[in-house]
Symmetry: C2
DNA sequence: CTCAGTGCAAAGGATTTGCATGCCG
DNA sequence: CGGCATGCAAATCCTTTGCACTGAG
């Protein structure tokens, strides 16, 4: 699953940006690298703490660009802050363990079989609602080790 | 499913507040009534639009109290605003259709069988992670009728 | 050279808080 | 009466934006 390499991620990110006429600057590269190394959804605040050199507005702006280019995606956490992580089609489809105490979010990969079961359930559920489903969000809520 | 009556909801809400030494005031009652009548997660902003008489700070404060008393629960939408709806143990377990265009969230009830399938999948997934699961959040993302 | 990207500071929007007053128990 | 709840306004927090400057192609 997370057998994806950093260089592969950079390649994917770079291609998506260049194809859209955007630059793959050092600031953006650094964001991708950080997201890759942390391997979980992070808030803008966490990014700024981890990379003090980066500027607040640039982080927000670059995350927005990366999101538009489908390099990263937003994730709802246990609190109100917006979190982002590398897009699923880059690091692979997965779900989240959300700590309702501290808001932390961790990735969770489930078996292909389980995934298929869920897909089936959802497909049936949406039928006839007039809603056009494009994806899903499955989070398991609870308490993480640290907060237990 | 939504066979729950308004009075039953008021009763449940009132009991939870009184048991905790809180008052079930008209402002709180009105919030519960509005949430019940709308039947979907709403933002504080929507509440204020629907009930202009209510004060902004009181709405936020009362929603916080109701959340603490487990009368309402927060729901992540397609945008950044916090939404709340009546707690699942009052109106019943369900999931959400989230519009990624306008952020709107609608309730979705799936079959017991489907629900069981999902529970099984999740139980297995969390095993051995050290995470203490207390619930889950399943949202189907897509485009609603209005935004299609 | 030219335009997108960056930094800094100020603006914006949602939510929270302080404080004086009102109302329920 | 006494304390929680309410209103209003000011304060905060997160995020976005304006503008001048820098850097890459």
């Amino acid at each position: 699953m997370s057998s994806v390499s950093l260089s592969a991620v950079h390649e994917a990110a770079k291609r998506r940006l260049l194809d859209a006429g955007q630059m793959y600057t050092s600031g953006r590269r650094e964001l991708v690298e950080l997201l890759f190394s942390l391997g979980r959804p992070v808030t803008a605040h966490e990014v700024l703490e981890a990379r003090p050199k980066l500027t607040q507005s640039s982080v927000y702006r670059n995350l927005a660009v990366l999101e538009e280019m489908r390099v990263v995606q937003r994730v709802a956490g246990g609190d109100d802050r917006t979190r982002v992580e590398l897009a699923e089609d880059i690091i692979g489809h997965h779900h989240h363990l959300v700590c309702v105490v501290c808001g932390m979010v961790e990735d969770l990969v489930i078996s292909a079989k389980a995934e298929r079961a869920i897909d089936t359930v959802f497909d049936q559920a949406v039928e006839g609602t007039g809603f056009i489903a494009t994806g899903h969000r499955l989070d398991i809520l609870g308490t993480c080790k640290r907060c237990a």
